[in-house]
Amino acid sequence: MIVQLLVSGIAVGIVYGLIAMGMVLIFRAVGIMNFAQGDFLMFGGYFAYTFNQMLGLNIVLSLILASLCMGVIGVIFMRTSYWALRGAQAKAIIVSAMGASIVLKEGARLIWGSIPLSLDKVKEGSVTVAGATIQWQYVAIIGIALLLMLLVYLLLEKTFVGNILQATAQDQYMSSLVGIPVIVSIGLTFFLSAALTGICGGLLAPIFFLSNTMGATAGSKAFAAIVIGGFGSVPGAIIGGLIVGLVEQFGGAYISSTYQLVLIYVVLIAFLMFRPRGLFKEKIQEKA
């Protein structure tokens, strides 16, 4: 029983972590929370469906193609609904991201229809460990997610491109003075974030099935993950995601299965109240 909850909690949690990480990358680069991130997940899932079911490609190849397409969509999203609003107030950017989220939802419904769809699993079947049957798909999700996190870590910390992204995130004005093409760097950040989130769509689809409104719940759980993990910290987002996944599973089993979704947000508010800087972020000091 516990093992079962643990595995599915980690698998789902790590996906929330990936979405949260995508959001944090965008937040560190441009300073706003992307309210359409949940819909990147949904759209990525539909792309994976197109490659896997419609064109019959192998699932892993479809996932990779889907995340690349999703990256392009991320850049288009940046160019249309964010770039023109760079100077505007945060609330205008938030609302324009909501507009984009509606467009993505309706676009998906018009292109792929509103009937729930599914696609192949990375690995069929399941394995029994200590009396609990675990699906290979969950194991695949955890494996791929860890791989992605490693890649992102290497890209950001170790490569030249990574330094450029970090520089733009720290100070756009300064990096433009130094000669970094800021629009390219921010575009790359959006590409990376959308690709990361898009691949999660393809991974979740075989278990939770694709519908054009699945983005909203995933998006708000990723919010919870970011706040719990520590606002703006990448490792924090991942750990926060795991906590959300585990709270969802264990809360649902032991506390109350009816209020399962509500529990996550009770934990979110508890963190906000008693540890606003989350687990990882250093103290936020406001200067006079």
């Binding site: 599915s8 509103s114 009937i115 054009n212 089993a253 509500v262």
Partner: protein
């Protein structure tokens, strides 16, 4: 600066265009209103309904229409909320050419509409199957529940489970959504009346995707059988996760478990699941089989219950209009009350009851992806 003016102009133009869009109908067409969610979480139900409406409208008009006039099915999006459904309903009711209105398949929306039906005074048919809607329709002057109510169907399924399959103890898992909650209560009462035991009733918030928590709880009870009341998508997910977790107890489900949407999604995990439903695409009913085949030919997908229901509702309304001989709303409603034995694609209808008008239901088991009928039940 020019850009700003340009946007303001387009906004103004959009507004003007929208205002002229509504109102004005010619009198030589009989309109039947249909409010279904075309957007929002239950958009799939809306797409089946609008597809079926197109076929039925074509069928009836080719056969000479009604009272010598062509019919037109006017669809309005209920946006998946009760406020949206009421707005859509009132829009249809305001159009004088509309003779009757078909409500959506969601009980909440139908109950919301019932209030407006009294003030709009127009024949309204609800697709919901919950007992709450049945009492609302029985108390209403203008609203009919053109469907077999869950109360008798759920009891029949439990009777089958208890006596024929031989399960004695049950664990019930249900969505907190209205229809599923009603079904769960009906299952519970039926089991207790039969003398069986209900080990546990576990609910989940609608929209939940991961049921590990609920299923692990259910597995611990080690009951003879599981009973599930869910909607389409969740039905497919929960049955897949049940089998993946190695729980191979017999499963008795609400109508969603016998529906093509869930069957396609769940794959072979849904095999040998029992469910009680009013409609299966490969129905022996001659009218039903014809419609189902025509639907599959036109849209290349199985004909789900939501489609067959719209077909029956439109035909029953047309029958009432024919008997009334006029498009006067009150006369059509009265003619509807006389229809006691109308043969539809899904089942026969006795509209004089106002609620629970569908007379028949089916106990179905999914055998390698095909919902096969095991027992026919009547709600007489």
């Amino acid at each position: 600066m020019k850009k700003r003016i340009l946007v303001c102009l387009t906004a103004a133009m959009l507004l003007a265009a929208s205002l002229t869009g509504c109102g004005g109908g010619s009198s030589d067409v009989i309109k039947i209103g249909l409010t279904v969610p075309l957007s929002g979480d239950r958009a799939s139900e809306g797409s089946y309904a609008s597809n079926a409406a197109a076929i039925v409208e074509q069928e009836i008009n080719d056969a000479g229409g009604v009272l010598g006039k062509q019919i037109k099915i006017e669809i309005q999006d209920s946006l998946g909320t009760d406020v949206g459904a009421t707005n859509a309903y009132l829009k249809l009711a305001a159009d004088d050419d509309v003779v009757a209105i078909i409500g959506p398949d969601n009980s909440n929306d139908n109950i919301a509409i019932a209030g407006s039906a009294e003030s709009a005074q127009i024949l309204t048919t609800g697709q919901g199957s919950s007992p709450t809607l049945q009492t609302t329709c029985e108390e209403s002057e203008w609203m009919f529940q053109l469907r077999a109510c869950d109360s008798t169907l759920c009891a029949a399924l439990m009777d089958y489970a208890y006596n024929e399959v031989g399960a004695k103890s049950f664990t019930i898992i249900h969505d907190t959504e209205t229809a599923s909650t009603d079904q769960a209560n009906l299952f519970k009462n039926a089991i207790e009346e039969l003398g069986g035991t209900v080990d546990d009733v576990i609910s989940y918030t609608s929209g939940t995707k991961d049921f590990t928590a609920q299923l692990t709880q259910a597995a611990e009870n080690d009951s003879d059988a599981l009973v599930m009341a869910c909607l389409y998508t969740e039905a497919a997910i929960i049955i897949q996760q049940t089998r993946d977790m190695g729980i191979d107890k017999p499963v008795f489900g609400s109508n969603a478990f016998g529906d093509p949407i869930a069957i396609d999604l769940a794959g072979d995990a849904i095999n040998d699941v029992y469910s009680v439903t009013a409609w299966v695409p490969n129905t022996p009913n001659p009218l039903g089989a014809a419609f189902s085949q025509k639907y599959t030919e036109t849209y290349d997908e199985d004909c789900a219950k939501a489609a067959a229901q719209v077909r029956d509702h439109v035909y029953v309304i047309c029958e009432a209009i024919k008997n009334a001989g006029t498009t006067d709303r009150a006369a059509v409603r009265d003619a509807m009350l006389e229809l006691t034995d109308y043969e539809g694609a899904i089942t026969t209808y006795d509209c004089s009851r106002r609620g629970n008008c569908g007379l028949g239901g089916l106990i179905v088991q999914v055998q390698n992806q095909v919902p096969t009928i095991i027992k026919e039940i009547t709600t007489g």
